[in-house]
Amino acid sequence: MDVMARLNSGTMYLICGGIIAFVAAVCVIFALRAWRAGKAIGMDTSVMLKVIRSSASFSVLPAVAILLGVIALSGALGVPWPWLRLSVIGALHYETQVAHGAAEQVGIELTGDAMTARAFSTIALLMSACIMWGMVLNLFFNKKYSSTLLRRGEKKGPSFGDTAMTAMFIGLVSAYIGSYIGGLVSGNARFDLAGDPVPLCCALAAAAGMMLFTRLSALKGLKWLEDFSLALAMLAGMAAAILFRVLFPAAGNGAAAAAESAALMMGGAML
């Protein structure tokens, strides 16, 4: 059996699936405990149900995008290992970058044809080791750090903590939106206006979608929409990305995109 066949074998599914099952069990335990603790401190169960519904509906679309990451890496690493990496601890942008860096170190290209058993086990070790520090820090410092934060949060009188968290998140969102604006204005060189407009258009469409669904959910009888507003707004943004690519196939991509658009139209017709 060649290396790729063994990387896609039942044994590999068993090893990786076993670890994923363990992590899923941990999630179930945390969810059940949080639910019970919420009830014990007098939280409204309808609020907790709202959180569950919203989190579940929101997570589907990013999870499908993560699945594409599994597919992208499966050509070189087989299906089970990327499945494990992206289900547990991994991040979409991290895995691809580290896998390529690791392949460079073992002196191969990250392709199925070049993969050897030793290269794979080395790449797998590196992918696990490079991103373990969040967990290591949690082991030693989570308790102390979160206890300090909780004490501050529970202090009587005005606290800056909640405002700081909102500000930090605004900073996070601004970094990404700023990168889409920068990507459009300075795509390949400063002020060349040849960048890809799709991320910004998609973000704007999602923002418009969020505005619409937020307004609708304020109407009588449509309150339920609030739980799904984020997922629906994301769908609106993603639909805008498809529409934009169909209407302006060459935007931001030059001639290559024009060629792609022909195929896109054909694909659309086939779907």
């Binding site: 919420g38 990013p62 991290y94 170190q105 989570n142 308790k143 920068g182 707004a233």
Partner: protein, 225 residues
């Protein structure tokens, strides 16, 4: 007879379970390459792994420390354990926890936020595990749909869609606060196009500026009574 505070006992156990789960996951993830190596008949090349760690891993080590310090306050202790174990923080767990906090109307750093955050990250992680498991199971029939040229642009833009939607939600009530970080980030990404590959690092100056502005605003509000 002393009555034990149920929340205190919940928090204590959360740390015990969180630490055990983290330790076991760490052992499983670091052990798996060796188990797979034994199965394939070739153990990892530790020299190459060490060289690789120096060239790629150190950046991620710094990034992990920053992520821990910045994101744990948003995630809470239980959510923190889960999010670090299940990953995909920026593109999934953080927005999910923040959105849930908003929906539930709870404040950061409170007991209620701890519960909401843990619940939302656990559910989000389970949905991810289920979607990926279903996707892997149905990979062959799903492949043409997921990789179709029509749908591909949509899946490539999940993160812009997510941050666009979140931008409306958060900019709406804090326009003044959002303006400067957005202007600064846009200017930086326009003037230094190569920074786009470092967006996750740029969260730090952007977040720091937003927190600084929020701090001044908060002080001013307090002084005004």
């Amino acid at each position: 007879m002393s009555m034990k505070d149920p929340y205190e006992s919940y928090t204590k156990k959360t740390h015990v379970i969180g630490r055990i789960a983290t330790l076991v996951t760490l052992c499983l993830l670091l052990g798996a390459p060796f188990v797979i190596g034994a199965y394939l008949g070739a153990m990892p090349d530790l020299g190459a792994a060490a060289r690789g760690f120096i060239s790629v891993g150190l950046v991620w080590t710094v990034s992990s420390v920053v992520e821990f310090l910045v994101y744990l306050p948003m995630l809470g202790s239980g959510g923190g354990y889960l999010a670090m174990i299940t990953g995909n923080l920026i593109n999934m767990k953080i927005p999910c926890a923040v959105h849930s906090r908003d929906l539930a109307g709870v404040k950061a750093g409170t007991k209620e936020n701890e519960i909401v955050s843990t619940l939302s990250i656990a559910v989000s992680s389970l949905v991810t595990v289920l979607v990926l498991a279903a996707g892997v199971l149905l990979l062959q029939p799903l492949l043409p749909v997921l990789e179709s040229r029509v749908l591909r642009p949509a899946f490539d833009q999940v993160v812009p869609a997510l941050f666009g939607a979140m931008a409306f939600r958060y900019y709406r009530g804090h326009l003044k606060l959002a303006l400067w970080p957005l202007l600064l980030m846009s200017a930086l990404f326009i003037l230094v196009p190569s920074l786009r590959s470092q967006t996750s690092i740029m969260i730090l100056p952007s977040g720091a500026l937003a927190i600084l502005l929020a701090w001044f605003g908060w002080k001013k509000e307090r002084a005004a009574g």
